[in-house]
């Protein structure tokens, strides 16, 4: 695909140009305590118009509490929430220009699909004809034209999910909050629905904030991801930033799989850093400057696919970046194979290799001694 011109990239990614773009949702130093438990701690977050922002975190990370504060079901203990320039911190849920899609879908069991979708419109006192037209439009949008008269219990899980989405979109909210929108669907349906969700979001231009614990879901859906850990935002960034340039050990481990190695800085130059690692049994040469001090203890993380295996000893870089080990396990996944290499120190590395040769008879196999090597920019140096 042709590369997008820089100007366009900034247009669709307003967060890259914060000077000229006003955030649509502004969360400032928000904390929430339940008794002695701090659910959300000093979170600040700017979300821009038409973004599909994912809050990603494990259970108890505070992501759902943050979402509920945006919806108005919880009031922050401190801090403010602004939506479209208006302070919403104390506004009750029924007066917010925000709608939410619930994890359990929360469809009203005593109302038909149409009545469910029309409920919010009726509360706004819209004329009957307009409500009917809008409901119809939404049923078409979620492809449920023939299901309007059914009750929720007569629908499948996927259909219920779409009714919940239609109901949440009915009032044309400026901001839609989605709590684990695909959590209750099976894997296949989930993948289909993911793309449908993105399509609808782009079509309507509504700002979406999605809470999920599923990193794959976050990576596919999001324009940006906020990784949450113990009530705090650990990192905010585009999916590629989060995966390729994690800012901490937590993020590196939480997203995808990573080999984490401890080391000590032996050379600290503006253009490169050398890390001595007894775990790896070799030095790590990093091709850029790092904010650190000589003899500082730090961590280095590398993704399994960023390393190369070979039988012959490679040249390495400045006498670094080559580790030696024995193949302990191989997991053949079809497109790739994941090798577990046991190093002399007892440390194990996971290295994945693309199976580009069909049924390769010369593939590296169990108990072989192999060399593992990597590029000078392949790993991330982490100080926290």
């Amino acid at each position: 695909m042709a590369k997008k011109p820089q100007q366009l990239a900034i247009d669709t990614r307003p967060w890259r140009d914060t000077a000229n773009n006003k955030p649509f949702v502004r969360i400032k130093n928000v904390s929430k305590k339940f008794g002695d438990i701090i659910a959300v701690h000093e979170v600040s977050l700017d979300i821009y118009k038409s973004e599909l922002f994912c809050l990603l975190g494990g259970s108890g990370s505070g992501k759902s509490t943050l979402l509920r504060m945006l919806a108005g079901f919880e009031t922050p203990t401190s801090g403010t929430i602004e939506i479209d320039g208006q302070d919403m911190t104390e506004v009750p849920p029924y007066n917010r220009p925000v709608n939410m899609m619930f994890q359990s879908y929360a469809l009203f069991p005593h109302m038909s699909v149409e009545q469910n979708i029309a409920y919010g419109l009726k509360r706004d006192g819209l004329p009957r004809a307009e409500i009917a037209a809008r409901v119809n439009e939404l049923l078409v949008l979620v492809k449920l034209q023939d299901y309007g008269k059914r009750k929720p219990h007569q629908l499948s899980g996927g259909q219920r999910q779409r009714v919940a989405l239609a109901r949440a979109l009915a009032k044309r909210p400026k901001l839609l909050l989605l709590d684990e929108p695909l959590g209750a669907l099976d894997k296949k349906l989930r993948e289909e629905t993911q793309f449908e969700l993105v399509k609808i979001q782009e079509q309507l231009g509504v700002t979406f904030i999605v809470v999920t614990h599923d990193q794959e879901e976050a990576m596919t859906l999001a324009t940006r991801i906020g990784v949450m850990n113990q009530g705090e935002i650990a990192m905010i960034g585009e999916p590629t930033d989060i995966y390729e340039f994690p800012n901490s050990r937590f993020v590196a481990n939480f997203i995808g799989s990573a080999n984490m190695v401890e080391g000590v800085v032996s050379e600290d130059e503006p253009d490169h850093v050398r890390i001595r690692s007894s775990e790896l049994g070799c030095d790590i040469y990093v091709g850029h400057g790092v904010d650190c001090a000589p003899e500082q203890r730090l961590w280095w993380a590398i993704r399994p696919e960023k390393m190369v295996l070979s039988r012959e000893q490679p040249a390495g870089l400045h006498g670094a970046n080559v580790a030696t080990g024995i193949v302990e396990e191989i997991a053949y996944l079809g497109d790739i194979s994941v090798y577990q290499i046991a190093l002399e120190s007892g440390k194990r590395l996971r290295v994945s290799q693309t199976n580009s040769v069909r049924g390769n008879p010369d593939a590296i196999t169990w108990d072989e001694t192999v060399y593992v090597t990597w590029d000078e920019d392949a790993g991330s140096v982490l100080t926290s």
Binding site: F73, Y105, H110
Partner: protein, 269 residues
């Protein structure tokens, strides 16, 4: 499973133990003879007699009014108590409140009746209200113990109520009051109906408490029947009892149908 003879016989014995007295009562209500235990032919004359007995009819009408009123009062109070217990999970004295709400379920009727009587007498002395004892005091007394039953029934319904339904309604622009009437009430309605029916039946049944708190000229149906039976069982009481059995059976049937019909509809989705 092998078909044995034991289970059918045991079932037959059990059911006849439960229902033989009732069946014989209904049969003898159609007896022509004025002697309750001697069958002399089929007749509906006792039903006719029943409807020309102003004392019985008056008592029946009073009982129905009391039952309807006290069940309705109990419905409101019991529902409020249930909401407080389920929704406010932690408040000071919750355990005490929960225990006290359900205490009337196990309290002997005699004690409930006696304590209410003492209360009414004391209140009349200090406040001048309620003046004397009669329908009002019976209604208050019945509402007191029916509240406990309604509370238990509604509580169990509310505890598996998905709160996100209410949140969804508020999120779509409904005020809390609106949400209660649009969402909460329709969903817990079956529990309210069965709570009300339960209260109605219990009030209609009650003899002991009513005897304590009733006054002159306000005898409920069970009280009238009881006093009549003490003078010897007359066949018109059989007829009356048959009618009551019919009404109760219809009520139970209605409650069951409501419960069954609401099951698939209200399954949380």
């Amino acid at each position: 499973m092998r078909k044995g003879w034991f289970l059918p016989i045991a079932a037959a014995l059990g059911f006849s133990f439960l229902y033989a007295p009732i069946v014989s009562l209904v049969i003898f209500s159609f007896n022509e003879s004025s002697l309750v235990t001697v069958w002399s032919g089929f007749s509906t004359k006792w039903y006719g007699e029943l409807f020309s007995d102003p004392q019985l009819l008056g008592a029946a009408w009073l009982s129905l009014q009391i039952a309807a009123l006290s069940a309705s009062i109990a419905l409101v109070l019991g529902t409020l108590a249930a909401i407080a217990l389920v929704r406010f999970r932690r408040f000071r004295g919750r355990t005490l409140f929960a225990g006290m709400v359900s205490a009337p379920l196990v309290m002997p009727d005699v004690i409930t009746g006696l304590s209410l009587l003492l209360l009414f007498v004391a209140m009349e002395g200090f406040l001048g209200w309620p003046q004397g004892r009669g329908m009002l005091t019976i209604v208050i007394a019945h509402a007191t113990f029916c509240t406990a039953y309604v509370c238990v029934v509604v509580q169990s319904r509310l505890s598996d109520f998905d709160r996100s339904l209410e949140e969804a309604a508020m999120d779509l622009g409904a005020s809390p009051v609106r949400t209660f009437f649009d969402i909460t009430l329709p969903i817990i309605a079956p529990a309210l109906v069965s709570g009300w029916l339960l209260g109605f039946t219990l009030s209609l049944d009650d003899l002991v408490i009513a005897s304590f708190v009733s006054g002159p000229g306000s005898s409920t149906l069970p009280m009238v029947i009881f006093s009549k039976v003490r003078l010897g069982v007359s066949p018109d009481v059989n007829a009356l009892a048959s009618i009551i059995i019919g009404i109760v059976a219809l009520g139970v049937l209605a409650a069951t149908i409501i419960q069954l019909r609401s099951k698939p509809r209200d399954r949380q989705v």
